[in-house]
């Protein structure tokens, strides 16, 4: 090949490669525009439901995709009402709302917004990392956010970062900096990750997961004492029942060939009794209590990417999962 031929071949490759990529980009853009302008694939109600509601992220394609929606708790299959607020994770309690939303930029950051009952922002903070879990205390006074932090080249990669703050503004700091007591194990602070907070009703106690390598513990935390105490091993992403007696969580699959699989279980706090629930699929969510006997959780639909359904299951291990809200994720029950 002469130099000239090589140049011609290269130019042909450049034109083909960039042309194809550009063409695909234009097609994807048109597709995105058409999808976001199209009417929602699910029925949408015009006015907000009265009485107890369930908020969630609407993952149905079409208008309102990615926005917070609500349905009556008593009739979850009825048409949803859209709010103007877009969130990746949402939670509602009393008159407060928390919304975690990915902020596009060269670094992955998350906007943590606290909003009032009409979705007017009260305060906004930027967290370094990607949205993972959000919770409020039942009285709406405390907020907890967990983000995924992906590291720089040599910092050893991934971790989570969880912070508790008053919805009024004051931060109680990163939970990694709290004193940690794990009976029978010594963990250097560098090895620990904390995620998935759930609040008790006393205004100080909370529960969370502390993870280190492949071990996890349920910890009981105190905001005032800045302290975490491990109370049970093998627990991930706790969620305290409304009556405060049980914790729904994720447990590793007993099958060692499925290291990524997480199954739902419930821990009775008084007796330390663990009950496995009848959901055979791996769950990647922090469960939410519909009431004292039923759990809700999101489950990815697989295709299209990013779409999800909310399922429900009896919390006593007695029944099978059933589809609760289609095209929805991040359930949050607003109790009266």
């Amino acid at each position: 090949m002469t130099h000239r031929t090589r140049l011609v071949v290269l130019i042909a490759i450049i034109v083909l490669a960039l042309g194809a990529a550009g063409g695909y980009g234009v097609w994807a853009y048109a597709q995105y525009q058409a999808e976001s302008r199209a009417p929602s694939q699910v029925p949408v109600a015009a006015s907000a439901p009265a009485g107890p509601v369930i908020f969630f992220r609407n993952t149905a394609s079409g208008q309102g995709q990615g926005q917070v929606a609500s349905v009556p708790a008593a009739a979850p299959q009825s048409p949803r009402t859209l709010t103007p607020q877009a969130c990746d994770r949402v939670y509602a309690a009393a008159g407060e709302r928390i919304c975690l939303r990915t902020k596009l930029g060269l670094e992955n950051t998350t906007d943590e917004q606290i909003l009032d009952a009409d979705w007017h922002p009260l305060r906004t903070r930027t967290l370094t990392g990607l949205p993972s879990r959000a919770r409020l205390s039942a009285d709406g006074q405390f907020a907890a956010s967990t983000v995924f932090v992906s590291g720089h080249a040599y910092t050893g990669g991934f971790s989570t970062s969880t912070e508790i703050s008053a919805t009024g503004g004051e931060s109680f700091g990163n939970l990694e900096d709290y004193t940690l007591e794990v009976p029978g194990a010594t963990l250097t602070p560098q090895e620990r990750n904390v995620w998935g907070v759930t609040f008790a009703k006393d205004g100080d106690t909370f529960y969370a997961t502390v993870g280190s390598a492949d071990r996890n513990w349920l910890v009981r935390g105190s905001i005032g004492k800045r302290m975490l105490t491990a109370i049970h091993a093998g627990v991930e992403c706790p969620s305290l029942s409304p009556d405060g007696t049980r914790i729904a969580f994720k447990i590793k699959s007993p099958d060692p060939n499925l290291p990524q699989v997480r199954l739902l279980a419930v821990l009775e706090l008084r007796t330390d009794q663990v009950t496995r629930l009848g959901e055979g699929r791996s769950v990647d969510d922090q469960a939410e209590w519909l009431d004292d006997s039923t759990l809700l959780y999101g489950m990815a639909r697989g295709a299209p990417v990013g779409d999800s359904d909310i399922w429900s299951i009896p919390a006593d291990g007695s029944g099978n999962p059933s589809l609760f809200i289609q095209h929805a994720s991040s359930p949050s029950v607003l109790r009266p």
Partner: protein
């Protein structure tokens, strides 16, 4: 007296004292630089959106992501030595590098189809293997194509182009996602396009076995090709001392991320400014890559390599000193960029020259692997220190150890006394 390795190299090419041939950028190095630029656009655009894609779109759990990221960090060092050795042994550095680039491009195709945890982890692993394969043979090609008097400058040109690509990649991804919020696959397709063009530039414009007779320097390379590498080529006392020095210094090179965190905690700027630190370091690196390479050629590569680590030491001090603020931040970033400019390409030049031509890729691979492994260990160790004694104290502790390690490295890299040289150079 302190003699640099460029003087030692000079014995072999025998330029008349005082006269240095004018710098002429080899088209091979330009082509390799453009390949690296395109490949870095490709890989950095994907790296920028991958955490977002995995956690937000695929919904993989915390643990899964940690595992994927671990793969991402760890793999390339392990295949690097094997690839360097095999490139020397088969004499086909171009095609070994080509295989590495092509493998990473193939991984981009697979990325479009990957949807679950297992397939995604496999795709990332393949990409990292590709990176491990290509680096040392590519640097060996640069080393063999460059004028020996201008080796540092030649590596500087390559590293500058490489860093331009690394800076453009995330911007490309950012712009695509800004226009098409769910456009991850558009990022992947664009990344694939750049990867393919990069592979094409390498395949078409870097001479392989047959065409290398075309110019004079290549003849030297061809004679190098006939000889197979020997173990002693990369196990000479000089090479061992270089590896020891680079390893010791690497152990005290903490990750950029930690320095940025110290800066962030001192100046309390908002997290959204955090990426600008990375951008600032990259800009300093790409601006200084060529000047540092030239300085290395003139003043001595060992000296510049050591001076670069003095720059790193100063960067630690600038980050940890009590006078925080914009000047300290800018000084830290410039010093960090200068450190990379003075050490990355220069180390490849040093290692490439210590090994004979027939073992150029193996020598470079050995040095790069030692440094990569040392830095991984360093970051883990520094993380522990960070939490044990606090960020600033940890920074000062590492700075103190580095201040001791630099003279130690200088001692190791000193020109050996004549009788030692006679016994080592066969």
């Amino acid at each position: 007296m302190y003699l640099s390795l460029s003087d030692w190299r000079g014995r072999r090419t025998e330029p008349p004292p005082g006269s240095v041939p004018a710098f002429r950028l080899s088209p091979v190095i330009l082509a390799l630089g453009i390949t690296s630029l395109l490949t870095d656009i490709s890989s950095e655009s994907v790296a920028a959106v991958l955490p977002l894609y995995i956690t937000a779109s695929l919904g993989l759990s915390t643990i899964a992501y940690g595992f994927v990221d671990g793969i991402y960090q760890g793999i390339s060092a392990t295949v690097r030595i094997a690839a360097g050795w095999s490139a020397d042994r088969t004499g086909s550095r171009k095609w070994t590098a080509f295989a590495g680039y092509a493998l990473s491009a193939a991984a981009r195709i697979a990325l479009l189809a990957a949807s679950g945890f297992g397939s995604l982890a496999a795709v990332i692993a393949v990409d990292r293997v590709g990176k491990g394969i290509r680096t040392a043979p590519r640097d060996a090609l640069i080393r063999l194509a460059a004028q020996p008097e201008h080796l540092g400058r030649s590596f500087g040109v390559h590293r500058m182009l490489d860093t331009v690509g690394a800076a453009l990649g995330p911007v490309l991804a950012f712009v695509i996602l800004l226009v098409i919020p769910n456009g991850y696959h558009v990022v992947f397709v664009a990344s694939l396009a750049f990867a393919l063009i990069g592979v094409a530039v390498l395949g078409l414009f870097v001479p392989g076995a047959r065409r290398q007779g075309q110019d004079e320097r290549a003849n030297q390379a061809r004679s190098a090709r006939r000889a197979r590498p020997h173990w002693r080529d990369v196990n000479s006392p000089r090479m061992r001392r270089l590896l020891l020095a680079a390893g010791a210094l690497g152990l005290l090179t903490v990750g950029d991320g930690f320095l940025y965190l110290v800066l962030q905690s001192r100046t309390s700027f908002a997290p959204e400014w955090f990426p600008l630190l990375y951008v600032g370091t990259n800009i300093a690196y790409l601006l200084l890559a060529i000047p540092m390479g030239r300085l290395a050629d003139r003043w001595g590569r060992t000296k510049v390599f050591l001076a670069g680590h003095c720059g790193l030491l100063t960067a630690y001090a600038a980050a940890a000193l009590p006078w925080a603020g914009l000047p300290a931040t800018v000084a830290t970033l410039v010093l960090l960029g200068a450190f990379y400019a003075a050490t990355d390409g220069v180390l490849a030049a040093l290692a490439g020259l210590l090994a004979p031509d027939r073992a150029a890729a193996s020598g470079i691979a050995a040095a790069q692997t030692v440094v990569a492994v040392a830095r991984l260990i360093s970051s883990t160790g520094f993380g522990l220190l960070w939490y044990a004694i606090g960020s600033e104290a940890a920074m000062w502790a590492v700075a103190g150890m580095l201040a001791l390690a630099i003279p130690f490295a200088a001692l190791l890299l000193r020109q050996p006394a004549p009788q030692t040289a006679a016994s080592t150079v066969r």
